[in-house]
């Protein structure tokens, strides 16, 4: 009996995620954008490449969320590690 209830609540959870997402991005814009870092000619994510890292850091130096910059999860992990290394060397 509760399996049916559980299934319906899962579906509802998904919709509220979409609602949350669309607040930050114009919806047609958000779901079409592919990850800018994992294409073919994408720049290399590296702690020395501060020109690229600065694009994914807010003005006061905080790492932007991947749901705002639409970066794939794999690249977001590399990005956060290299940003932390650049911070350690006082490059960012």
């Amino acid at each position: 009996m509760n399996r049916k209830k559980f299934k319906s609540s899962k579906k509802k959870g998904k919709q509220s995620n979409f609602a949350k997402l669309s607040i930050f991005q114009p919806s047609k814009y958000k779901f079409k954008r592919k990850c800018p870092l994992s294409g073919k000619g994408a720049p290399v994510v590296d702690y020395k490449n501060i020109k690229l890292l600065r694009r994914y850091v807010s003005e006061n130096g905080k790492i932007l969320a991947s749901r705002i910059t639409s970066v794939s999860l794999k690249k977001q992990r590399e990005l956060s590690i290299s940003i932390k290394r650049a911070r350690n060397l006082a490059l960012i």
């Binding site: 702690y47 490449n49 020109k51 290394r85 006082a90 490059l91 960012i92």
Partner: protein, 120 residues
């Protein structure tokens, strides 16, 4: 044989001659422990994004080293006690990309950016 990228930040007021013998001292240490220095880069005087020991700027030195981990322990042991060093960072890498120069000094920086934009 592991590949390491070793970066050190020297104090603001280190003279170029001091930097040269810093480079020699550490590359000598790597050679002594049967390591090999593939490339050394001098990124020059860069602005630090926050104050480290009251220094606004820092001289950045970058080594690409091939060798086992004993070399790095040896290097870092000496760098800890070296007074005119502010920071050191060692990163183990799978492979080096030797051609991209992110911090090359200003005059060929412009054309390196130009070259990079051309093939991007």
């Amino acid at each position: 044989m592991n590949l390491y990228e070793h970066t050190i930040v020297a104090r603001q007021d280190t003279t170029p001659s001091q930097i040269k013998d810093l480079v020699e001292k550490y590359s000598e240490m790597v050679k002594k422990n049967k390591g090999k220095i593939i490339k050394t880069e001098n990124w020059g005087l860069l602005n630090l994004s926050y104050l480290i020991k009251k220094n606004k700027k820092g001289n950045y030195l970058h080594f690409k080293i091939e060798g086992n981990s004993k070399i790095i322990d040896e290097l870092e042991k000496n760098e800890k006690i070296d007074l005119n060093l502010l920071r050191y960072l060692t990163v183990r890498v799978k492979k080096f990309d030797l051609d991209t120069e992110y911090f090359s000094n200003t005059e060929n920086k412009k054309d390196s950016n130009f070259k990079k934009n051309a093939n991007e």
